[in-house]
């Protein structure tokens, strides 16, 4: 195991440069942390990922992190960002894959790095980017029936009332109760508030004494 720290140019090896030109990728400008970065076309990403993991001079065997960045004013809108770590050579690499909004889909790398499973589920949950070939693309942090992708820039910080869906019909904001098509027995139970709040709290009054 190499003991030296990662120096700014350490990931820019010949093997990487050869791979970049072979797959038509491009180098990213130098970042403040000195981690080399490449921008990859999504059609060639899966094959490139295999090469990055398997080539003797590269050996990026540990996928550290997957996330996405939302740029609403750019084309493509989403940037899926991968951080790779080669334990053999102790090098880091940042890979970016552009994903347009209209067809928000990116190849899944679960077969290359198993850890991508939950990471990709999180990116799907938070940004709505789908991963083609993912074995189990469910939401992970938000509830399964949650209708939005909260880390998109157009999602408000304060959130939206998620028991109601909003849609605009001819300038009139229509609301519709969600979860109406849930299976029987799972409907939210109506709460009888005629005698105050169910937990014994009423407006402004102190909680009922439990003793």
């Amino acid at each position: 195991m190499a003991d030296h720290p990662v120096s700014p140019s350490s990931s820019k090896t010949e093997a990487l440069a050869a791979l970049v030109s072979e797959f038509g990728a491009e180098h990213l400008p130098d970042a403040a942390d000195g981690i080399a970065g490449i921008l990859v076309d999504r059609d060639s990403w899966l094959e490139l990922a295999r090469q990055l993991r398997d080539q003797e001079d590269l050996r990026f065997d540990l996928l550290v992190d997957v996330t996405a960045v939302d740029w609403p004013d750019r084309q493509p809108r989403f940037e899926v960002v991968y951080h790779l770590w080669s334990l053999t050579h102790n090098r880091l690499l940042r890979v970016k894959v552009g994903v347009p909004e209209e067809q928000a889909e990116c190849p899944s790398v679960v077969l290359v790095w198993g850890t991508a499973n939950w990471h990709e589920r999180e990116v799907f949950d938070m940004y709505g980017v789908r991963f083609a070939g993912h074995p189990d693309l469910r939401r992970i942090l938000m509830p399964d029936d949650y209708p939005y992708h909260p880390l998109r820039k157009d999602f408000p910080l304060e959130g939206v009332d998620n028991s109601v869906s909003y849609r605009n019909e001819g300038g009139v904001l229509m609301t519709q109760e969600l979860f109406v098509d849930r299976p029987a027995g799972q409907d939210p139970t109506p709460v009888d508030r005629s005698k105050g709040d169910p937990q014994g709290y009423s407006d402004g009054a102190a909680p009922a004494d439990e003793s």
């Binding site: 970042a31 992190d65 939302d70």
Partner: protein
């Protein structure tokens, strides 16, 4: 539940005792799931044949918050990621922003931060020893571990003003200097601590019941661990001696003398042994740092990017204005940074994208617990139901940082 019952009835066959599979939901309120993890288990008798960990019950949208609050405001939120080592989370975040903004941290502040990181590792591993033992049924060690943790908290209380969630790290340094009394008490605590580790080992390592409950349980190979992105003690227990303090050194770690313990089997008992040895190594590091703490400033003297010391804010108008501007208007340059530190559970990374605004454009927290939790599935599938708790205890994840 209806569907499960119907399925059991339809698949019921008296000739095949293994035909009945029981679906069991463990958590999110189960005491051994360390917070709010839910595991959907499918059991064939006592065997776990399928496990599906469900996370997200503690999701508080920290990454969304980061895009709306200033960098100074985000420090208290990092405390509540891995709440067993709040200051280590703060150090990671501070290093990330400092790398982006190019802030130089004085040597003494770096030494204090390194010391704090190790104290946090000690306190987090102490919880592991206590709660982990409790999960396996060793009740006594819980009280021994918590006694030590409380006495460490008393010292941190003197230093930072709070027992936990201290919010002590500042951009460019730390919030207060280590005074002579705190140094003396820390030296005393560190000098006593190896004896305490011996006590834990006496209670657990050679304990036949503990050994049999942990040995060979929840085994993963090095290859599996790397594929699943596992880092920290759980990776080292499989025999891969990777530690960010050595591999990608930050703070003063490249100048310190310590060893990286590794396991051989990758089972629950190895994960325990690695953590106990890390207690000893962290003690060694803290000892070295306390022996000759560099002198100098505890926060950068060049005040362009850092908060002025409180004493000066109260007496000088310029400093008051400066403090106000730093809190409300400070912006780092545009750019992107990934900075990782070795937290108690593994690689804690922050990926920060800035467009030069007052708050981050994007902040991704690479939480070690989130990634490590994926390895729970291969650990418990195929094993006995009663060993699920041993795997959970030895894996040790914090739901606060898993769900963010």
């Amino acid at each position: 539940m209806n569907t499960v019952r119907e399925e059991i009835i339809t698949t019921h066959d008296l000739n095949d005792l293994h035909a009945e599979h029981l679906e069991l939901s463990m958590g999110p309120q189960h005491p051994a799931t360390h917070g709010v993890l839910q595991i959907k288990l499918r059991l064939d008798g006592e065997r776990v044949i399928h496990a599906d960990p469900i996370v997200g019950y503690l999701h508080r949208g920290k990454e969304k918050h980061a895009e709306h609050c200033t960098y100074q405001q985000f420090f208290p939120l990092t405390d509540r990621l891995d709440y067993l080592q709040p200051l280590a989370n703060e150090v990671g975040f501070a290093l990330t922003v400092e790398t982006l903004a190019g802030i130089d941290v004085p040597l003494r502040a770096q030494a204090i931060r390194t010391l704090i990181c190790e104290l946090m590792r000690l306190s987090a591993h102490l919880i592991w020893v206590g709660i982990g033992g409790l999960d396996i049924g060793a009740t006594s060690v819980y009280f021994y571990a918590f006694r030590e943790r409380e006495s460490l908290f008393d010292i941190l209380d003197k230093l930072t003003g709070l027992r936990t969630n201290q919010e002590y790290i500042r951009l460019g340094g730390v919030g207060a200097d280590l005074d002579a009394e705190v140094i003396r008490e820390l030296r005393q605590w560190i000098a006593d601590f190896p004896k305490r580790i011996d006590e834990f080992e006496m209670l657990l390592s050679g304990n036949r019941i503990f050994y049999e409950r942990m040995k060979g349980i929840g085994r993963i190979t090095a290859q599996q661990a790397i594929d699943l992105g596992v880092t920290g003690p759980c990776l080292r227990a499989t025999g891969v001696g990777v530690d960010l303090r050595r591999a990608r050194p930050y703070l003063l770690y490249s100048e310190l003398d310590f060893e990286i313990p590794v396991g051989t089997e990758g089972d629950a008992y190895d994960r325990y042994l690695v953590r106990v040895e890390e207690l000893r190594q962290s003690t060694r590091i803290a000892e070295q740092l306390l022996k000759d703490l560099p002198s100098g400033d505890f926060i950068a003297a060049e005040l362009k990017d850092v908060l002025p010391p409180k004493g000066r804010v109260y007496t000088s108008m310029e400093e008051m204005i400066h403090q106000f501007k730093i809190v409300t208007e400070w912006c780092p340059p545009p750019g992107e940074v990934y900075q990782a530190t070795e937290a108690a559970n593994g690689e804690l990374g922050y990926y920060l994208v800035s467009t030069g605004g007052r708050s981050a454009y994007k902040l991704k927290i690479r939480a070690p617990s989130f990634v490590n939790l994926q390895s729970l599935k291969p650990m418990i599938e195929g094993g006995y139901f009663s060993d699920v708790v041993a795997s959970i205890a030895s894996l040790h994840f914090i739901m606060g940082e898993t769900d963010r």
